[in-house]
């Protein structure tokens, strides 16, 4: 599957994956984040059941302490 991840094309071996699976594959380490798929906010408790499909536009931003 091909998706757009943070404005860049990315290819993954499977046909679809959950948000949790993508976080594992990409080894995204910061614990606090915002995930949007095609502009829709995906809340933390929805990561395990929300599926990313071919062609999706995925935006992820990390929120790190400091202020």
């Amino acid at each position: 599957m091909k998706i757009i991840l943070n404005n860049r094309p990315e290819e993954f071996g499977m046909d679809e994956m959950t948000v949790s699976e993508m976080l594992n594959i990409k080894r995204f380490t910061y614990r606090m984040r915002i995930v949007r798929i095609n502009g829709k906010l995906i809340k933390r408790d929805e990561y395990n059941k929300t599926v990313i499909r071919d062609g999706d536009d995925v935006q992820m931003l990390y929120l790190m302490s400091g202020g």
């Binding site: 915002i34 906010l41 933390r44 302490s65 400091g66 202020g67």
Partner: protein
């Protein structure tokens, strides 16, 4: 455009500031100087002496509630700005009521847990209300790493998106101040675009 014209336009808007620490206090001062009409500021903390390394407070304000101290400082900068303060810990439950009237919300927390909480709450409650986040500003130097990233049309993230505050990487006045002013700058840019839009319709 002359500054007075810009100031007159900004006077008709309300900006919410979630947190009155390093980001919130410095961002609020920049917005007050620019002539924003109303600021809605929420924080439950008290000014401590170790905040003075980066936050817009003074030694004689140690022990005061941050919201009260910031309101005092903002009035000294610009008595025309209306400052609506909430001495409260922001939660998913109270954010909608406190910031409902705001045209834009500035996320100005220190803790990443709180940053995620307000981003989720605001984006869930009002998908079209602009939110300006600060993420990645600890330490010193690396000025060129600090940047603004726009996501969709309503989420703006200011910072380097990599420098997390820790025991060996404190938040310090210059980088916090830069990011706080980037957030204020983003607010003004969004509000001035509304003027261009109004002038052209």
């Amino acid at each position: 455009m002359k500054f007075n014209k810009i100031k007159d336009h900004l006077a008709s808007y309300t900006v919410g500031i979630a947190g009155a620490g390093g980001l919130g206090s410095n961002c609020a001062v920049a917005l007050a100087r620019s002539g924003i009409g109303q600021l809605v500021i929420a924080d439950y903390d008290i000014v401590e002496s170790n905040n003075l390394n980066r936050q817009y407070y003074f030694t004689d304000q140690v022990g005061m509630k941050k919201t009260e101290a910031l309101k005092e400082n903002l009035y000294r900068v610009n008595p025309a700005v209306r400052v609506d303060i909430h001495d409260i810990k922001l939660t998913r439950e109270n954010i909608p009521d406190i910031f409902r009237a705001c045209d834009i919300i500035v996320e100005a927390f220190d803790s990443s847990v709180m940053k995620e909480m307000i981003a989720e709450t605001v984006l869930g409650e009002w998908p079209d209300k602009p939110i300006i986040l600060g993420s990645g500003l600890a330490g010193y130097g690396k000025t060129n790493k600090l940047k603004e990233r726009v996501i969709g049309s309503t989420i703006i993230i200011c910072g380097d998106e990599e420098s997390e505050t820790g025991d060996d990487l404190p938040s310090m006045a210059p980088r916090v101040g830069i990011v706080a002013n980037m957030q204020a700058n983003a607010v003004i840019e969004i509000l001035m675009k509304k003027k261009d839009h109004e002038d052209n319709t």
